[in-house]
Point group: D2
Chain length 347, copies 4
């Protein structure tokens, strides 16, 4: 297999660690650069002993200098950086001829004003928004294949959009009644020395946070609106629970009058037949994060409540997998002409 | 303090264990009987080494024979038994002059037909339903004080009812839009040898279950309907998460047109001023289970989303505490004329 | 009960939190001061929502100024400060007439040179070492009663000393063969924003650390040597495991030739008969941390291996309880003439 | 690659699950049979939703009938059965021409009398003991390559033997002073409905068990004795901790007089140079289970304590990986002429 020279920019956080885990053994990847301001000079194996014997783990972290990255011959760069920071380096790498898969929020929104509303600062590279592709491979495979700049979706949005989009496209539910509840593992909060993320603060704890206007709402509502052909606003409630990784989301909405509940299952089947990473659990299936951790799968089950007329969508993914690194590699496979499952065949 | 002779019937499960924890050191209690078919003959200390040095831990489990229990001189009996089983022994103990605090579902519903619909069998003692008091002390203190038979509420219902009832009574929200999402610790599933409750099956796992018609909906909807003065049906989605104890619930509903969001906080303040075990976190407060485990507190915060017009209620309790054993002791204190915090002053 | 005006200096860490939990509801305590440089100005309830409704939780953290503390009328001060820092403030408080219970390592060693060897800096108050009492209440109750300055033992030392001391005093084991292995919950590492203490770094992880010369060896060997009447050096291996609290220690040593294994149990029984907080599990008893968390108990079981001639001692305590805050309150009760179990009757 | 028809007998426990995880995607394996009395008739995907989209997951569990297994054309069978049960089916499969890799204890001991002493019943197939190879690939690669019957080592023994064997072979330590302490994840206790393995019983708990004569001592001492050329008896203390998987072991022994501590590192380096799955952490390296979970690696660090003259060996492995399924696949790779890392290149 033709191995693509690849860089990871911002490789010392949890998303970066997941990208390393996948790319170090991806048959189509030659990892030529991994950056980290904090760890520059150390080897991957020094920072992540888990990778101690992996091929390529002797590679040393470098500073995130675009010229140095380009000089490695990298053709594709994954960015696992904070929003605001990612856009600048994405621009610099694009100018040097690399294709970019950005895992931050910087290129997910089409409208710079919405970005500013939700992220609190002006967009650092608005001129690139038009060409960026929101990288949900199940929805935009063709555009991703050809893309120069992919904005890989957020973890919560992935778990909410994949179950909902087919229902909205077929006009089965009333968008004004959508409520999405998510529970996320602690890795979703990042690898930073923060008192609230200590073991003793998170263990034996469960709580909502970030309500009522979590930043991920911006991309969720953008994509739902595109699918529905009308402006959609939803309620989204994220929670933190004591697991390392995994998101379980339960989304409810009223079925439109006259729609048969069976249409739910049919719409999901139609949308995801042939997809490698969406596993449909059918009616009554309650997705469990423990079945998807460290994989690129999203499991989706559904239920209908005749008492309330609501449909329930239960989805589970790994926030670092299908919700971040795995999904980015899925886009990478499309961009490079690899098989969907290359480097993602983990169980 | 006058010590009341007290029995616990069904004391070897997790709810029984919590009752033991509280009652062994309650200043107004003399524990005279604890029953368990499985553990009969062993001491409390044998079965629960945690209580090894507690006063009274040498007491031996006995079979749940009503005559034997009555012969101990017990004036009050707590029942921590499966539904269906509790009703029979409750009747027998009432006939022998004891007052009964039942922690099962058997006496929570006023309508035997609803019981049969949700629990799948005819009610074992329908003649007692009329006198049973649904034991939410913040709502029915007077009736509990005088009660011969208290039906202590379920864990999920407590976490949903206490935030919602004041809003419904004041007609602030649209009942048709209520969606309640709960996450529960594993102790809520009971202490039984079941493959799905093994450490390795629950750890690093999160999932919905029991949708769309969990049994607790029956009592939730009964009490909401009573408060609203109309029949209410809601969506309730329970989830299992890897903590020993604790329930975090997030409930949403549309604010009625013209109602000021501030009315939410005001209604909660009015309802729970002076209550010992409801801690109001105010607007923006996100209740965290880690602050309430092993206590009888319920923490309640709220938020308003002007984008959707929905109110969010975030509540947290210990499913074994305020959701079971603690709340039952709270009723006991009312019934016996003790101070609200007697035996419940734990942090 | 006569309530003693009490201060906690350094009350915003995990040990401070445990002291607050115990002292806020201790019947003999009036908490008049709690200090924290970081949290000065906030109330106890602000920093620790768990205590939100506790009597006295409106108290505000103050800076650790000895004059201000003395001005509150405090008669006793608990110090939960880092080593090196504690000694200075202990001296200042003693000079102002307070009695001091220090939970740091500063006054545990009789020899300032040993302190310097293990802690890496000169002792800050060597003139106080002679009068400080190493506060193991089961061993030195009389001295603690009269003490002006108590050095409350470390968490690991408590779990190792209590099982071993009776065996050494009676010369039952060969001290040169002692190996102690401990597993500690993460709260033992303190409440500080440190990457290695993040949930995702500690969860699903187990590892040894701090070998071969953990600081606690200094006080362990001092006390073992005193009991044996000879200089003792042991092997001690601490491990970190993913629980909030609790230490389980297994200590092995060769039985001296000719000693009957039964002498082990007899020595333990003799040493701890009548002690409120040592629970002997007998031969074959394997102590489990889950039975002692949030209590002041230490559970001790033992076993003999005729194949190797070794005795095994299995002990469990809460590192924040008997290993820190609980034990300090136990000394406090002695110093103030309270009952042993006052304020410590938790299960 | 030539794909070997392979069977897993007893595939519904945790070890079976790990074997499935590895073999379903092993490039050299065609899985033709998986047996389970309890799950017969269900597909692998039904029982283990994690494998829902794996190639081959539609395979259905069958009863463990040797004729049926042989009829599938299987050339190799992995046995993940309880001891006592495994021997009978191993014999039947060998008679039918299959090669057998047994993960139970049945063929690990050379002496049937020792088996009976430790396992409490007569050996079910003593005539096979002479040809069985104790399958530690780092120690007996040549014999494993040619073997018809491999006895894959126990989880604890692997973590104790690999660090110790080189030291004993070179006579660096005094065998009479060996003490091994291990902490194991709960999956090591198996997938069975047992009250003591419930989430709430294991979470927030740590305890020793099975002392002083855990069954694994039999194979540990056999292999240590073979390496040392003399009969060796050691102290081994297993503990249960709340992680799904992973064993951390700390082993201590006195360095023989006159031996330089550097000889420890040198012996380890010499023994494991070129080995794919032993990662030496060097002096001061404290192995952490989180770096080896879901891999076939064992990490080994060491330390020397000049105060006591003891060496400390810190090792970590996944009890289901290098301690069970991974190691069995490592032997399989040897037996089939595959590369050492085939199917085991996970991180």
């Amino acid at each position: 297999m033709n191995r693509i020279k690849t860089a990871i920019v911002g490789a010392s956080g949890y998303t970066g660690m997941e990208l390393l885990r996948l790319l170090l053994v991806h048959p189509g990847v030659e990892l030529v650069a991994a950056t980290s301001r904090q760890e520059a000079g150390k080897s991957l194996a020094d920072v992540f002993p888990r990778f101690g014997a992996a091929p390529g783990a002797a590679l040393r972290f470098i500073e995130p200098d675009p010229d140095v990255i380009a000089a490695t011959g990298a053709k594709v760069a994954f960015l696992a950086l904070p929003h605001g920071v990612a856009a600048e380096i994405a621009r610099a790498l694009l100018e040097r001829g690399l294709r970019v898969i950005d895992l931050s929020a910087d290129f997910r929104l089409r409208d710079a004003a919405v970005y500013e509303e939700f992220y609190g600062h002006a967009h650092p590279a608005p001129e690139l928004l038009a060409e960026a592709v929101y990288g949900l491979p199940e929805i935009r495979a063709e555009e991703i294949r050809a893309a120069r700049l992919v904005a890989s979706p957020g973890c919560y949005p992935t778990s909410i959009l994949l179950p909902l989009l087919p229902l909205l496209r077929e006009n089965l539910i009333d968008p004004a009644t959508i409520v999405a509840n998510s529970m996320s593992g602690v890795s979703g909060a990042g690898r930073k020395a923060d008192l609230t993320l200590l073991f003793c603060e998170c263990n034996e704890s469960a709580r909502a946070y970030g309500v009522p206007k979590h930043r991920h709402l911006s991309e969720i509502e953008q994509e739902l609106s595109l699918a529905a052909g009308e402006k959609i606003i939803i309620t989204f409630i994220p929670h933190l629970i004591p697991v390392n990784a995994g998101i379980a989301t339960t989304t409810t909405a009223k079925l439109r009058e006259g729609v048969s509940p069976d249409a739910i299952g049919a719409a999901l089947e139609k949308a995801y037949a042939g997809e490698s990473f969406v596993r449909l659990l059918g009616k009554g299936g309650c997705a469990d994060t423990k079945n998807v951790t460290r994989t690129n799968f999203i499991d989706i089950g559904w239920q209908h409540d005749p008492r309330t007329g609501r449909v329930l969508l239960m989805s589970a993914e790994d926030n670092l997998g299908k919700g971040a690194g795995g999904q980015a590699v899925q886009s990478f496979n499309l961009m490079c002409g690899f098989k969907a499952t290359d480097g993602l065949q983990n169980f």
